[in-house]
Structures are given as C-alpha cells and as structure tokens.
Subunit: 103 residues, 2 copies
DNA sequence: TCACTAGTTCGATCGTCATCGTACTACGAT
DNA sequence: ATCGTAGTACGATGACGATCGAACTAGTGA
C-alpha cells in the first residue's frame, strides 16, 4: 500500500508568519480544530466545510506548506495530522491557546 | 492633559480569527514584538517600520480593533500597549508561543 | 495667533488570495 | 479494461487588504 508523505517544511523551516497567516482564515481554523479533535488523523473529505473540494484542497495545501499539518496517502485517501509536536517545540503554548478559544 | 482611550473591543468581544489574522502580517508582528519589549507602552512613531505613517496608522488600527493592543492619547502622541492580560486570559500561551519564535 | 509636530482619514491603486468549475491523476473494485 | 471515488492542478474571477499621497485634526510651543 506504500503510503507516502506529501512535501512539507522541516521543523526548522517553519516560519511563524506563515503559521499565523494560515491560522487566520476561518475555514482553515475549522480544519485545525477538527484535526486537534482527532489525533490519529482525519481524511480531508470528512471535515464538514462550506466550500467546494477544490477550495478545501487549496486550504489543506496552505496549511501543509505552512507546517501546520502533515498529510500522507492511504490508498485514494489522504490523511492529515496536526503537527502538534513541531508546533509545540517552536511556539510552546500557541496551539493550546488557540484551541482554548470559546470560538 | 485628559488622556483618552481609543475605541477597542471588550475582552469578551475579541475573536480568535481576528487576532490571528492581525498577527499574521509581518509589519504588525513587528509592532507586537516591539510592544512586548516595552510593557509600559510605546509611541507608534518610535517603532522602526518600512512603511509610511499612514500605513502604520492602518496597522495599528487593525491591531486595536482585533483586541491585540490598546491605545491612549498623551498630548499629540498616542501610546500603544499590548493587551497581554486579556489575550492571556482568552488564549493562554498564545502570545508567549508567538514571541518565543526565533523569528 | 501662528506655525509645527504627531497622527488619522480618505480615495486610489495594486497585489494577493479565497473561491469556483473543469480537467486531470491515482487508486480500488467490478 | 472500465468505472467510480478521492483528491489535485489549473485558470479565471472577485473581494479584500496593504500601500501610498494628500488633506485633515488636534495638541504644543513660540
């Protein structure tokens, strides 16, 4: 089945501006919250979003390139996982703070 | 001298999307870092920025309306202060995480 | 009163990006 | 092989926002 990890920045390549800009978009923040609720990873299509599939793919790419999430293939599906460890190492408390928002 | 506080959202009116969007802009992040280094407040013009005065005013307004900083008049000057307490109460760890970034 | 200084506001411009539809790729099942 | 499903890539469009200059406001000091 040869799962494959999609290209993403190394931990030391992650820039805080990119992370914040990625998180500062409502749809993407929804995605991040969904990923936070599912540490095992989520299939992109499972997250309910008010946008089409192509827009969804665009946001996932943005989040991946910013270093917020990691994506690996699983057959025809793509599983995304929040890069908690990396983000916590770089910006301790940031993720927790964001997720603690009462929305 | 009657200093006056410029209009800003109450703590419970602050939205995490607005905060993250405000912080996800390089110039504004520079401003926030400068404010973090000066808990007593900073006069807008003192922060070295690669933009004109009007753009600077625009960014300060954005940050104020997002609830990131507070501004009060002091004669002809305007002093801005990071709303650390409010942000820490709403999103504990967020600010610390961002500021701990090695840039 | 009359400048001078600090800063805002307004309108215009320009770039970026969120969104969409369509076409495409890749995997799985029949 | 063929079809269906999951998702991406591309090109176009429209909206938002970063930027600027110019005009304006307000406080300070001569």
């Amino acid at each position: 089945m040869a799962t494959k990890v999609l290209p993403q920045p190394e931990r030391e390549e992650i820039r805080v501006e990119a992370v914040l800009q990625a998180l500062g978009e409502p749809v993407r923040l929804t995605i991040v919250r969904a990923l936070a609720d599912n540490p095992a990873g989520v299939c992109c299509g499972e997250i309910e979003l008010p946008v089409t599939a192509s827009t969804r793919a665009h946001h996932l790419k943005t989040l991946r390139e910013a270093g917020v999430l990691s994506t690996h293939t699983d057959g025809t599906r793509r599983i995304s996982i929040l890069r908690r460890e990396d983000l916590e190492a770089l910006y301790p408390g940031l993720l927790t703070g964001i997720l603690s928002a009462k929305q």
